[in-house]
């Protein structure tokens, strides 16, 4: 607290406008006890300044999101249409639509979900309901954290080594979905754990007291009461799996595959497939002379899908919180 309140108002031009009634009376002693001293004013000014700086920093993070979405939409507009979604690429990926890629992504997402949702939910049930606080639990938690942190390209290498080569699945939808499933497992585990731990302990105790076993309690009370939180986690898994490129690049996704139009069962389990994310990578880096709007439109479809799915999860969560009974 340096130079405490010796300065008069005159030495502080910024204060003149702030409090005209008092600024005419010089000196400190003559003042009302509760008026601002220059020191307080200076303090307030730094406060506003600091708040403004931090606000700008936050804003600089928000602005790119909005800008990027708008920019992509603007450039994609000429190519976007319903037909673009539901027709196959033509003339060496330089025209047509993205239907095979869209369908491929759908296959990969659903299949990876079928694997990771049960394992992830049950793993979270174990961690939250059964595990005691011992070294095993600590190691499992650490493994989950690490699984989430493994670079996506290392997941790809793992998929190649374990599924494509070791398990002899070859490059296939199956291998790619399994790779995606393991990669997205931590998303489901984390969300489910949070949902389970939000169920009050008293619910479980009440259930145990009437003679229910642990599993009966989980089945009858804990899971029904946390189902919406679990679903949120599953939705987030879907968004994550739909957007990933690296893990499927070498395990099952291909640049181009012709499928019969209008057939939603066009891909088999051991087929290779196209995928939206892979398609965007391909047409923006590997294929020359693609009309400008097509990669933008693909990016918009991919980004739009992912953001919509995420927003669904957010809306779901807000709705959930609003009707929570405890």
């Amino acid at each position: 607290m340096k130079g405490q309140v010796v300065a008069t108002n005159e030495s502080n031009p910024a204060s003149l406008g702030a409090n005209p009634g008092l600024s005419s009376t010089p000196g400190y002693g003559s003042r009302d006890l509760f008026t601002e001293t220059p020191f307080v004013r200076k303090k307030k000014r730094t406060e506003y300044l600091v708040e403004a700086i931090f606000f700008l920093m936050t804003l600089l993070m928000v602005v790119p999101l909005i800008f990027i979405v708008c920019y992509l939409f603007y450039r994609a507009a000429p190519a976007l249409s319903i037909d673009f979604l539901f027709s196959a690429p033509t003339s060496g990926m330089r025209g047509g639509g993205i239907w095979p890629a869209l369908l491929g992504t759908l296959y990969l997402v659903i299949l990876s979900l079928l694997v990771s949702a049960p394992i992830g939910v049950l793993a979270a049930v174990y961690l939250n309901e059964y595990a005691r606080d011992n070294w095993l639990t600590r190691i499992i938690n650490l493994a989950v954290v690490n699984l989430a942190g493994v670079p996506s390209i290392v997941h790809a290498l793992f998929g190649v080594g374990a599924f494509v080569l070791f398990a002899r699945m070859g490059r296939s939808i199956l291998a790619a979905s399994l790779t995606l499933a393991i990669m997205t497992l931590p998303v489901i585990i984390a969300a489910t754990k949070e949902a389970l731990s939000a169920v009050p302990m008293a619910f479980r105790e009440a259930c145990w007291n009437v003679g229910a076993s642990r599993w009966q309690t989980i089945r009858g009370i804990v899971l029904p009461n946390s189902i919406s939180g679990i679903l949120t986690g599953i939705i987030l898994q879907v968004s994550r799996a739909a957007g990933e490129t690296a893990p499927i690049m070498f395990t099952g996704a291909v640049f181009y595959k012709a499928i019969s139009e209008g057939d939603i069962f066009a891909y088999g389990l051991f087929d290779q497939c196209m995928a939206l994310s892979m398609h965007l990578f391909t047409i923006s880096t590997q294929v020359p002379n693609v009309p400008e709007a097509i990669p933008y439109a693909t990016a918009v479809v991919l980004l739009g899908t992912v953001l919509l799915v995420n927003m669904l999860a957010i809306v779901f969560r807000v709705y959930l919180r609003s009707r929570k009974k405890w």
Binding site: M1, K43, E47, V50, E51, F54, F55, M57, T58, M61, L65, I68, Y71, G120, L122, A123, V125, Y126, Y130, I139, I140, L142, A143, V145, N146, L147, G149, V150, P151, S152, I153, V154, A156, L157, F158, V160, G161, A162, L165, F166, L185, P186, R214, Q216, A242, G243, T245, A246, M249, S277, M278, L280, F281, S284, Y296, L302, L303, V306, N310, I314
Partner: protein, 297 residues
């Protein structure tokens, strides 16, 4: 005993066993990842692969016929330069945003910002890469009059935007973990908000903030598609932010498709994978220990 009851006594131990197995699966997967990635590359390692050359030589000529060289130094330099630049941008902004969101925001505004951050984190990396390839590329060419916009700068900015959400959400968590009594005590002494942040909150939350930065770094090192598309494929040690580079991750993504299965080149790429796995493992371990340290207090 009803039939249902009897059935339950039979099925329950089985179900509980399955649940336990699923719980342990996470450990199995992490070990599995290391095992299978190492297994594909280990053959070369046991045939006397020159690890010193791998880590210190900048000569990366995997396709050359007579003069094959597997020196990853230029790739390591690529990863380091892009990650460092990204952190130089993302750490101040990320921590600044975390402070604003946890200390200055009204609850409603806070919710809005958190949603925006969540959406920012959800943007797929290939879309970021596409933005680097198109928008950022044009921007850098016009702003710096550079011949090509796919540079360290491009990758760094993209990566910064990608790792900011991680830094903000973990940083905000650790600021929220500082007890309110600290803030009240400082306020009672007449401290300004800035003084509270600088003298009280930052020291009290420094472990959590460090963990946030570490996880941001891990994200940067591990990112693949965005840097593959935005940094422009030049295997060389960069001298300025306007040089093109190639990172470790991008090299695997770019070359794995062309390397014949089980060739030396293929195995070296898996060894790079082992290196990446090890780096991310230790960073995550460190961050986790730091965060757990806060929890115990």
């Amino acid at each position: 005993m009803s039939l249902r009851h009897r059935l339950d006594t039979v099925t329950e131990p089985i179900i509980e066993r399955i649940i336990q197995l699923c719980g342990i699966s996470a450990i199995v997967f992490v070990f599995g990842i290391f095992f299978f990635v190492f297994r594909e590359g280990s053959d070369l390692l046991f045939r006397g692969f020159d690890l010193v050359e791998f880590l210190t030589s900048p000569q990366w000529y995997p396709d050359s016929v007579g003069h094959k060289r597997y020196g990853a130094l230029a790739l390591i330099a690529g990863t380091t330069s892009v990650t460092l630049l990204a952190m130089a941008i993302a750490v101040p902004f990320g921590l600044g945003a975390a402070i604003f969101i946890s200390e200055f925001c009204s609850p409603k505004l806070r919710e809005t910002f958190k949603i925006v951050i969540e959406l920012l984190a959800a943007i797929p990396s290939v879309v970021w890469g596409f933005i680097g390839l198109t928008l950022m590329n044009e921007l850098i060419i016009t702003l710096f009059d550079a011949p090509i916009g796919l540079t360290v700068l491009n990758g760094g900015v993209i990566l910064a935007l990608m790792s900011v959400p991680v830094i903000v959400s973990i940083g905000e968590d650790s600021l929220k973990a500082v007890p309110d009594s600290y803030r009240e005590a400082a306020e009672a002494l007449g401290a300004t908000r800035w003084q509270i942040i600088y003298r009280v909150l930052l020291p009290a939350a420094k472990n959590g903030l460090l963990a946030a930065v570490l996880l941001g770094i891990a994200r940067g090192i591990g990112e693949t598609m965005a840097v593959l598309m935005a940094t422009g494929h030049a295997v060389k040690i960069p001298h300025s932010v306007l040089d093109s580079v190639r990172t470790l991750t991008a090299t695997i993504a770019a070359e794995l498709g062309e390397a014949p299965v089980h060739s030396d080149h293929y195995q070296v790429l898996f060894l790079i994978g082992v290196l990446l796995f090890t780096i991310s493992f230790f960073i995550n371990l460190a961050a986790d220990l730091i965060i757990k340290g806060i929890g115990r207090k």
